[in-house]
């Protein structure tokens, strides 16, 4: 009983000490808390803006077929349309304000009515293949859907879409959840990594290790301290996802336990990195700089199985992937792999346990070496 009480006292003392230490570096603390929110807002902002290609349409013909074609383009899930005269449109594309200029010729209606060939001019600002290929595909889509509606007897082959889900989740609600995981990762690595590395850098680890306290209780205390501080950032990010981006979770309980489990994993990983690297500067640089590649590799944009095989293999090495799968299920009830919630959670738990063991081993090994 006395041993348990003693360990609890050590845990409490280490936790309190780390929280107080964090409070002494206020600028760092504030930057660390707001960094995940910054990541969330910045990524969301640019994904939101980049989903539709700004396109100018020059309507040399305003007849019913030309109007119908314009409507077909509007429904192509690709364009942010505006009409302009030829001169303005040319200026817009030259200045890089629009991706494409679509010109509907003056004899469009007459030629369509007479079933004669007619060419729609498409000038593309082919800056990169992402936008360019979207345009190259969206114009044929508009042509086919225009014919499908205007001449259902002539163009008989049409796609018939059957959706799995009652509604398609937009870019921001989907990505916001993935970014939440990355934000938790950055905040946790930052907090636990610096707290751990600074013990080595300032030499205070010797005092901790020479004390009669058990290694594991020191470790648990330090990790709990980091969790308590990181929790502020996590709450802030979840609040932004729910209240600012308007993504209401379908399983609140799952959001909470997945977030806490992710937090535990990344805190353990941060503590391990701090213990191994023993210098806070590279730990901080790694925590921030890893966020972008992790975001792209871990299936933030959709199921990882839709990516090329090499990407799938790499993604599955990191816990971020499983955390994203679980959070997408918690928020949207999506199943992004075939493992199910239980197995994904079990994998995350194995990561957590593995990292805890590795961190303990690293601490013990370092003790022997120093």
């Amino acid at each position: 009983m006395a041993a348990i009480t003693g360990n609890l006292r050590v845990i409490w003392a280490c936790m309190k000490k780390d929280m107080r230490s964090a409070l002494t570096e206020r600028v760092f603390l504030i930057a660390g808390i707001f960094m995940p929110v910054n990541v969330l807002l910045m990524m969301s902002l640019f994904v939101l803006a980049g989903s539709h290609a700004p396109t100018a349409v020059v309507m040399h013909d305003t007849g019913p077929y030309a109007q119908a074609f314009y409507r077909a383009m509007d429904g192509a899930h690709s364009f942010s349309l505006s009409t302009a005269n030829a001169e303005d449109a040319q200026n817009l594309i030259t200045e890089g304000k629009v991706v494409a200029v679509v010109t509907i010729p003056s004899d469009f209606d007459a030629r369509v009515r007479a079933n004669e060939p007619v060419q729609i001019g498409v000038q593309i600002n082919n800056l990169n293949t992402d936008f360019t290929n979207d345009i190259r595909r969206a114009i044929p889509l508009s042509i086919t859907s225009f014919y499908g509606k205007a001449f259902p007897n002539l163009v008989t082959v049409t796609p018939h879409e059957i959706d799995w889900y009652p509604q398609t989740t937009d870019y921001i609600p989907y990505l916001g959840v993935s970014i939440l995981v990355i934000s938790v990762m950055v905040g946790s690595l930052l907090q636990s990594g610096t707290s751990s590395a600074k013990e080595w850098e300032s030499g205070t680890i010797k005092e901790l290790l020479l004390s009669p306290a058990s290694r594991w209780s020191i470790l648990v205390g330090k990790m709990l301290g980091a969790i308590a501080v990181s929790l502020l950032a996590v709450i802030l990010v979840v609040a932004v996802v729910v209240f600012v981006l308007g993504v209401w979770p379908t399983h609140w309980d799952e959001v909470i336990w997945v977030t806490l489990l992710s937090l535990l994993i990344f805190i353990a990983l941060g503590t391990l990195l701090g213990t191994l690297i023993k210098r806070w500067q590279p730990v901080v640089a790694l925590a921030f700089a890893l966020s972008v590649p992790m975001f792209f590799i871990s299936g933030a944009f959709g199921p990882i199985s839709f990516q090329v095989p090499v990407t799938q293999v790499i993604a599955k090495i990191f816990p971020v992937y499983y955390a994203i799968v679980l959070q997408q299920h918690a928020f949207h009830s999506f199943d992004l792999n075939t493992f199910g919630v239980g197995l994904n959670a079990a994998i995350l738990m194995i990561y957590a346990l593995g990292l805890l063991v590795l961190t303990t081993l690293a601490l013990r090994r370092s003790t022997i070496a120093h």
């Binding site: 570096e25 600028v27 760092f28 930057a31 960094m35 910054n38 910045m42 990524m43 902002l45 640019f46 994904v47 803006a49 989903s51 192509a76 899930h77 690709s78 200045e95 304000k97 030629r111 001019g121 498409v122 082919n126 800056l127 990169n128 293949t129 992402d130 360019t132 290929n133 595909r137 114009i139 889509l141 042509i143 086919t144 002539l154 082959v157 049409t158 796609p159 018939h160 059957i162 799995w164 889900y165 398609t168 937009d170 870019y171 500067q281 590279p282 730990v283 901080v284 640089a285 700089a289 890893l290 792209f296 199921p303 199985s305 839709f306 090329v308 090499v310 949207h332 992004l336 075939t338």
Partner: protein, 369 residues
């Protein structure tokens, strides 16, 4: 006089470079994630715009065969032929494919009779990104099907494409340059900031102050060290991109490319020194530097095409010097163009000078304190 100045600058630069080189973990932490990001972008680009799809052909007729061939050749999907509907359903359920395209049993017959012949497209529409790709790609294939009929095609509306630029740039290539600029910004801010803050944290600032050299000399030496580190990293990434065939400026555009790297490195290094001298502590300098580099990366169009963003975002970007760095590098490397190069150089030069001025002011004020 000049000899003494250069000797002192050289000594300070050498000292800062040696300190930096003694921290291989810092170097690795700066370079490894950037290399990882480049690798990830290259891998990710292989899947962009080509979603995995299962094709089920339930009709053996000539039109169905032709349609299937066109879907195969369309280069808009990563196609897997399914022998049966149940196999395709299993692939969709296992998330091996985004969608199932089914050519129905009476497809050829219905076309021959002029009756509607729908191609079923069952989509896992969990997000708009993949779903819209499919929504664009299937009609693309249908259009190609009709085009293959030549003069007999009922679709008489065609598309006449003209491109503004001579070559298409792959998406991942396009994102390399902002990544490189972010590396320059991050490296300059962190290395410059830490080198300045360290002088206060280790109290060596006093020794510098008491040394018989002008304060301008100290600042020049420190900015130069940070600049050399930063420019070296930028050059490393550029040459790596060149070897891999991703970023290959041609002829005279090598000069403009290197000049832009120099200006961005100088701007970020000087800003780092100013920040370090102002905050005088390494930890907050690092946190603010990384946050600042992150913000500037996004606001300068790091993951998007800035010109296609809303006007208010473009207005903000106009005040971010990195916007001009990104633009000049894109023009020089991808399009062999010097479009608005004068403006880009002017903005970056003025920004670098202002940053050096801020560094001088900050250093002088805090040395005095």
């Amino acid at each position: 006089m000049f000899r003494n100045f250069f000797r002192a600058v050289g000594a300070i630069t050498k000292k800062d470079l040696v300190v930096w080189l003694r921290q291989p973990a810092n170097m690795a932490a700066m370079i490894v994630p950037v290399l990882a990001l480049l690798l990830v972008e290259a891998l990710g680009s292989a899947a962009v715009g080509r979603s995995p799809v299962a094709l089920v052909r339930l009709d053996q007729g000539p039109k169905a065969v032709q349609m299937a061939q066109i879907i195969h050749q369309a280069d808009v999907f990563r196609l897997a032929d399914a022998s049966s509907e149940s196999q395709a359903q299993l692939m969709l359920k296992n998330l091996d494919v985004v969608a199932i395209i089914t050519i129905p049993p009476n497809f050829s017959q219905r076309i021959a009779q002029g009756q509607p012949a729908q191609i079923d497209v069952e989509v896992n529409n969990l997000n708009a990104d993949f779903t819209n790709d499919i929504r664009r790609s299937v009609p693309d294939a249908i259009t190609q099907f009709y085009q293959a009929q030549g003069a007999a095609s009922p679709i008489k509306v065609g598309m006449h494409e003209s491109d503004l630029r001579q070559r298409d740039v792959e998406m991942f290539q396009y994102t390399i340059l902002p990544t490189m600029v972010m590396l320059l910004m991050l490296s300059g801010l962190v290395s410059g900031g830490i080198s300045a803050a360290r002088e206060w944290e280790t109290r060596t600032a006093k020794e510098l102050l008491l040394a018989p050299v002008a304060r301008g000399t100290i600042i020049t030496g420190k900015v130069l060290a940070s600049f050399l580190i930063t420019f070296g990293l930028g050059l490393f990434v550029l040459l790596l991109g060149y070897i891999l065939g991703w970023t290959q400026p041609e002829g005279i555009y090598w000069i403009s490319t290197l000049l832009i790297l120099v200006l961005v490195a100088l701007f970020s290094s000087a800003l780092g020194i100013a920040l370090g001298a102002l905050l005088q502590r390494m930890q907050p300098v690092t946190a603010i530097s990384v946050n600042a580099a992150f913000y500037l990366f996004f606001l300068a169009g790091g993951i998007s095409v800035l010109a296609f963003e809303p006007a208010w975002l473009q207005a903000i970007a106009a005040y971010i010097p990195l916007t001009y760095g990104n633009h000049a590098l894109q023009m020089a490397i991808f399009y062999s163009s010097s479009d608005q190069l004068g403006t880009d150089i002017l903005v970056l030069s003025v920004s670098a000078l202002v940053a050096v001025g801020l560094g001088v002011l900050s250093m002088q004020r805090n040395i005095a304190n």
